[in-house]
């Protein structure tokens, strides 16, 4: 016979009360586990999507002269600079220690040239990585297939008479992320900015005497790409007389849980002649979005924990009153105050451990059932022993905290009064 024997015997005797407490704790822990698991999965998914949505690191040559502007970012006048970026530098970025955190590396050559009597900004890009980076682009036409294929910005296309407005209002523009490798040409787009529809009427464009095919037109984004013409990187490098040179490299890093500053440092170390900077606004807004999700989950979890703690507190207080006589007898026959507290704590610890485990299993099960309704990319749940341990520890903590006062109160019962209690 030990203190624990009394605790076990009591639990066996009050099965329904113990079961009620276990169910209560389980529901609380299951809610918290499901909430935290779902929020973590959703956070990862949203974070990944946000990270893939545009660049958050820009690499440009070290320079004092600023001559071109692209997407609100000043780009060095490469022809005047001693330190220039080379095509090979884009590959070298993929060799940094955090390379698995890099989603897209998109090199570019920029230059101004005259097209049909107008000054136009040309951008030579690696189309697969560029289209992966600019997921918000919507194209009318096809993705470029050949070296001489072009994508033309909406304003540039309009000024070069490559498109004309239509009145039918049909919209057939397709987001680049949903585009098949080869799509049928043509198409009509309803322009959201100007509330007009257009279709491609001219599919040929001469630049520096060379014939190019207009594969597609980027619908208006309101950004600088509206004014630009995009072509393949090696072709435009040659066209602009800058073979092997780059004006800038845009990098999209998956920065959930990693400091973007570390990636910036690693790229800087890899490319000592380049200026690498993080787009702080983009990084901060991503972090804020993630924080909001986490704060919501934590706030709801805290409310659930408080309710669970109050439930245990009331039940244990009731239990102490109910067991006044019994506790008095135990004190009368020589049990110390600390032993009375220990006995009640063992009971709650057993209940909390079972409640925590059942809660964790239920929470994971609930997450598994609910996840498909929240996740678009079919993210699967992973067994995380930390969550299991955390669930049991949380249950033990709320159990212990809610029982301290009733247990102390029980230990302070006057044995002479308690044994008279009927």
């Amino acid at each position: 016979m030990r203190i624990s024997s009394i605790a076990w015997a009591n639990l066996k005797r009050r099965k329904s009360k113990a079961a009620f407490l276990i169910i209560g704790i389980s529901i609380g822990i299951a809610t918290i586990v499901a909430l935290l698991t779902l929020s973590r999965v959703i956070k990862d998914e949203v974070g990944t999507q946000l990270d893939q949505f545009g660049a958050n690191i820009i690499v440009v040559p070290q320079s004092n002269s600023l001559s071109l502007d692209y997407g609100g970012i000043s780009v060095s006048g490469v022809t005047l600079d001693v330190n220039q970026l080379r095509t090979d530098d884009a590959r070298r970025i993929l060799e940094i220690p955090y390379r698995n955190r890099l989603s897209v590396v998109a090199p570019k050559i920029l230059g101004v040239t005259e097209v049909e009597g107008r000054q136009v900004l040309l951008a030579g890009v690696d189309f697969p990585s560029e289209l992966k980076l600019k997921r918000w682009w919507r194209l009318v036409g096809q993705k470029p297939q050949q070296d001489q294929d072009l994508l033309v910005g909406y304003e540039a296309a309009k000024r070069l008479s490559l498109i004309e407005s239509t009145a039918d209002g049909q919209s057939q523009a397709v987001p680049v992320m949903e585009m098949a490798e080869v799509t049928s040409g043509g198409g009509v787009h309803h322009n959201n900015v100007e509330q007009k529809s257009f279709r491609i009427v001219g599919d040929r464009l001469r630049i520096d005497g060379q014939e190019h095919r207009v594969a597609g037109v980027i619908t208006s984004t309101g950004g600088s790409e509206d004014q630009m013409i995009f072509g393949s990187l090696p072709h435009f490098q040659s066209l602009l007389g800058k073979p092997g040179q780059l004006s800038m490299i845009e990098v999209s890093a998956l920065c959930i849980g990693c400091p973007v500053e570390d990636i910036v440092k690693q790229i800087s170390a890899q490319l000592p002649n380049a200026k690498v900077s993080a787009l702080q606004q983009s990084v901060r807004s991503r972090a804020e979005t993630m924080d909001r999700l986490t704060r919501f989950a934590v706030a709801v979890s805290a409310v659930v924990l408080v309710i669970g703690a109050l439930m245990i507190f009331t039940t244990m207080m009731g239990s102490v009153v109910e067991r006044t006589k019994e506790i008095g007898v135990l004190r009368a026959i020589g049990l110390r105050k600390s032993q009375i507290i220990k006995e009640l704590m063992i009971e709650v610890a057993a209940i909390s451990t079972i409640g925590g485990l059942v809660g964790w299993i239920s929470g994971m099960l609930a997450s598994w059932l609910i996840l498909p309704y929240f996740s678009q990319s079919g993210v699967s749940l992973e067994f995380d022993p930390k969550i299991a341990l955390g669930a049991v520890m949380a249950a033990l903590l709320i159990g212990a905290l809610s029982t301290i006062y009733p247990a102390i109160r029980a230990s302070r019962l006057d044995p002479s009064e308690a044994v008279r209690h009927v």
Partner: protein
């Protein structure tokens, strides 16, 4: 020196401030020798149970001292007093106060919870005491599976298991029929015959007469003490 010395004990209960203070005991002096069987008699509300709990190290007196085996009981800290109760005292309550969820053997083993003895040793000791009160064959039964007399004997067994030198009994036959009461009193007599010191509170003059000495109390004061053997009871 006597085994138990109660020296000028007084007890005042204060429920709602000084104005409503109630003195339940005053100027109580009592000595109990080792191996003696003493009965305490008095009407309801006379302070019998209060005196018993004061001697039982459970109820701090307002005045006076209690010495047991030369130990100043209320000079001990509260936790040491719990140890003292475990080591020196065996309680038999009027309602028996058995734990309904523990079987007879486990109920007897309860005071051994704090003992450092092994589980096997505790079991052997508890079975020996159950044997002594004639309940060895019912060790696995729950209290509600025992008769009133058996429950009383079980309560006595629990008081004996620690080999406490002093048994304190609070109307141990109060809730029993007369036949069962006699059965319990026989157990007390047998224990006393084996040298056990017993201090028993009772309403029943027949039971009180089985002790060596009867102490009478009324309105919180001792007014008469009679030697049963000398009076020929």
């Amino acid at each position: 020196m006597s085994f138990v010395v109660v020296n000028n004990i007084g007890k005042v209960y204060q429920s709602n401030g000084v104005d409503s203070a109630v003195r339940v005991l005053g100027g109580i002096n009592l000595e109990i020798e080792e191996g003696e069987f003493v009965s305490l008699m008095g009407p309801s509300g006379s302070g019998k149970s209060t005196l018993l709990t004061i001697i039982g190290a459970m109820n701090h007196p307002s005045d006076g001292r209690v010495l047991v085996d030369d130990i100043d009981v209320y000079g001990l800290s509260e936790e040491r007093r719990a140890d003292f109760r475990c080591e020196y005292l065996g309680f038999v309550f009027q309602q028996h106060h058995l734990m309904p969820y523990l079987n007879a053997l486990e109920n007897v083993m309860l005071p051994l919870v704090t003992s450092k003895a092994s589980a096997k040793q505790k079991r052997i000791r508890a079975l020996a005491v159950l044997q002594r009160v004639g309940l060895a064959s019912k060790a696995a039964r729950l209290p509600n599976q025992l008769s009133g007399g058996e429950q009383g004997r079980l309560a006595i067994a629990r008081a004996l298991v620690n080999e406490a030198p002093l048994i304190l009994a609070d109307e141990p036959t109060g809730t029993l029929d007369s036949k069962t009461g006699v059965e319990i009193m026989e157990v007390f007599q047998q224990l006393n015959a084996q040298g056990q010191t017993i201090f028993m509170v009772t309403h029943n003059p027949d039971n009180a007469a089985l002790a060596h000495r009867i102490v009478n109390i009324r309105d919180g004061r001792m007014f008469d003490e009679s030697d049963v053997a000398q009076s020929g009871a």
